[in-house]
């Protein structure tokens, strides 16, 4: 890359950079050649980084006032809401921030699915992303337990009991997770400890995610390989930085709407009742972002198989780069995949809705069909489609459809061979 030969202008800059090349890194990030046709679906990486930092900063502050003890946790959250200066604001930003984080990550993931960003040579980026997603779910789940309300307690009970489905060791594993014979104070304190740890693990993985991204560079809406730098690319700064910031502002308007106008709409009223191990709320639901998986869990009438199906739903995503056999990345040039893509989006939304409804009657039936389709999409449709689908002609470069010819002559020749 061209920035390897970078030398800072100032003497002190040069002295520092020779010892720790941070300025070279900064220069690399600024000049990084980025496809010039990136649309607004590509701004969510930046938005997600913002979300992570927001959660870490607000979480750090909340931990200064929160008490991780079964007898005091619930009251300490009310203390934050009523007594701590701006405590209500910081807690509402943190609580809604989790939802906004997931909203952004789902858009980011579905962007990748539409434009084939997970395909070779970007498999590691995708897998790192999936690990981040998994850690996000763990962090969100443990965070939801901390206020020690009814939903906290029973959500923790249901989720930790998933592990009791494991043959032979199930009971020892759940006892080990709880630090007791049911969810209780030891469970709360360890969840607090882990909830504090996970965001920093995510931060480390985000660095790897971006590092891996900077090897092949960004995918782009037409999903072709670009020569970098070329007429098809623009420097990251200022072009992409400004675009990302504009998208972030729009995102923040939505974020602020939730925080200031309906801070509790995404939560559950039962979580304002203190945890009671004797009474289960009539209708337990997880947070909205976990509902599709919850629907899959409940769609299977057998305990162990239900748990396996739920984890399998995640696992098929991890191995997705090898399930999708199509050589063409972007759905723009895959007329059939484009339709199946929207079926999948609808399917996941239906699963989410069914996860929020009681598991009975026709709800259960629809959830079962949707669960089956989810797996059919990944395990049957994608592998077969890659072989059978007649894809459209992919342009040689971003400029070709407009100007004719290729911006990268060498690349054009290569692909014609």
């Amino acid at each position: 890359m061209s920035d390897n030969s970078y030398t800072p202008d100032s003497k002190i800059g040069k002295w520092f950079n020779d010892r720790l090349p941070l300025l070279t890194l900064s220069k690399h990030l600024q000049d990084y050649p980025t496809p010039k046709n990136l649309n607004y679906w590509w701004t969510f990486g930046g938005i997600l980084t913002f979300c992570l930092i927001t959660q870490i900063v607000t979480g750090l502050i909340l931990a200064m006032h929160y008490v991780a003890h079964a007898d005091m946790a619930f009251e300490s959250v009310e203390h934050i809401m009523r007594n701590v200066n701006y405590g209500w604001l910081i807690r509402y930003v943190h609580a809604n921030g989790a939802s906004m984080f997931f909203l952004a990550v789902y858009i980011h993931i579905f962007r990748s699915l539409y434009y084939g960003s997970y395909k070779s040579p970007r498999e590691i980026i995708w897998i790192l992303g999936m690990i981040i997603y998994l850690l996000m779910m763990m962090a969100a789940f443990m965070g939801y337990v901390l206020p020690w309300g009814q939903m906290s307690f029973w959500g923790a009970t249901v989720i930790t009991n998933l592990f009791s489905a494991i043959p032979l060791f199930g009971e020892s594993i759940t006892t080990w997770l709880w630090g007791g014979y049911a969810v209780g104070n030891p469970t709360l304190t360890r969840f607090f400890s882990l909830h504090y740890l996970i965001p920093f693990l995510i931060l480390g993985l985000v660095v790897l995610h971006i590092w891996a991204l900077h090897v092949p560079g960004n995918n782009n809406p037409i999903g072709i390989d670009l020569k970098k730098p070329s007429k098809d690319t623009v420097p990251f700064h200022p072009y992409i930085v400004i675009k990302d910031l504009f998208a972030l502002l729009i995102f923040l308007i939505i974020f602020a709407f939730f925080v200031f106008y309906s801070p509790n709409i995404l939560g559950h009223a039962d979580n304002y009742i203190e945890a009671d191990p004797m009474v289960t709320p009539a209708h337990i639901v997880p947070e909205w972002y976990l509902l599709p998986f919850y629907a899959i869990l409940r769609a299977v009438p057998d305990k162990l198989l239900g748990v396996i199906a739920m984890f399998a739903a995640l696992f098929v995503l991890i191995i997705l780069p090898w399930l999708d056999t199509s050589k063409v990345r972007s759905a723009i040039f895959r007329p059939l995949y484009k339709q199946f893509y929207w079926f999948l989006v609808a399917d996941v939304l239906i699963l989410g809705y069914m996860g929020a409804m009681p598991a009975e009657g026709w709800y259960l039936l629809v959830a079962r069909v949707a669960t089956a389709y989810y797996f059919i999409h990944f395990l049957i449709i994608l592998p077969v489609l890659g072989q059978k689908e007649k894809t459209l002609d992919v342009p040689q470069s971003i400029t070709e459809p407009v100007l004719g010819g290729s911006a990268n002559q060498s690349l054009a020749k290569e692909q014609k061979k």
Binding site: W154, T157, V158, T160, N161, L162, S164, T175, W176, L177, W178, G179, G180, Y181, A182, V183, G184, P186, R190, P277, M278, V279, T280, P281, A282, H283, I284, R298, V300, P301, D302, K303, L304, G306, P358, A359, E360
Partner: protein, 170 residues
């Protein structure tokens, strides 16, 4: 010949070192893992005594034992008959009511659904026993699973009648 001997001696030293290293790492990591298991204060809460003199026929109370709810139900004749007349072949987890309730009038069991641990509601469900609102498991008047995702019957804890009016759980 002598070369081969030397190689074998090296191999032995490597294997022995790796093994010792693995044992050392294992011994060091174990306390870090085991600290998460129930501590001495949790284990000390092993038994609870419950006064059952105030419970009328058909009534049920819930007490907390080791952080878990325990149902103590004084069953009616009708409920006992219903539980005992069931053909065992119909049950997903066959168990005789006689084995579950030493004293047919008193049914003592953990109030935790064997699916994912919610507390089932009494006198509900298709078998007039318990019904779990979380994922729809139905239990009969003996606390046996009849329908739904739960794999086994409601668990019977260790308990004994200390006197006519007191049960010791645990």
């Amino acid at each position: 010949m002598s070369d081969q001997k030397k190689t074998k001696r090296r191999d032995f030293i490597f294997t022995a070192s790796y093994t010792l290293g693995a044992v050392g790492v294992g011994a060091t990591v174990w306390p870090l893992i085991d600290q998460m298991n129930p501590d001495a204060s949790e284990r000390a809460l092993a038994s609870t005594e419950v006064d059952i003199s105030g419970i009328e026929r058909g009534q049920s109370i819930t007490v907390l034992w080791r952080g878990k709810p325990v149902f103590i139900k004084r069953r009616t004749e009708e409920e006992i008959n219903k539980a005992r007349q069931v053909n065992l072949k119909e049950l997903p987890d066959p168990e005789k009511d006689e084995d579950r309730a030493k004293n047919p009038e008193w049914l003592v069991m953990l109030g935790m659904c064997t699916h994912l641990g919610c507390v089932p509601l009494g006198n509900k469900g298709e078998y007039d026993g318990w019904f779990c609102p979380c994922h729809g498991s139905h239990y009969d008047t003996s606390g046996r699973i009849r329908k739904g995702p739960a794999p086994t019957n409601l668990e019977i804890p260790k308990y004994e009648f200390i006197s006519n009016s007191t049960i010791k759980i645990g």
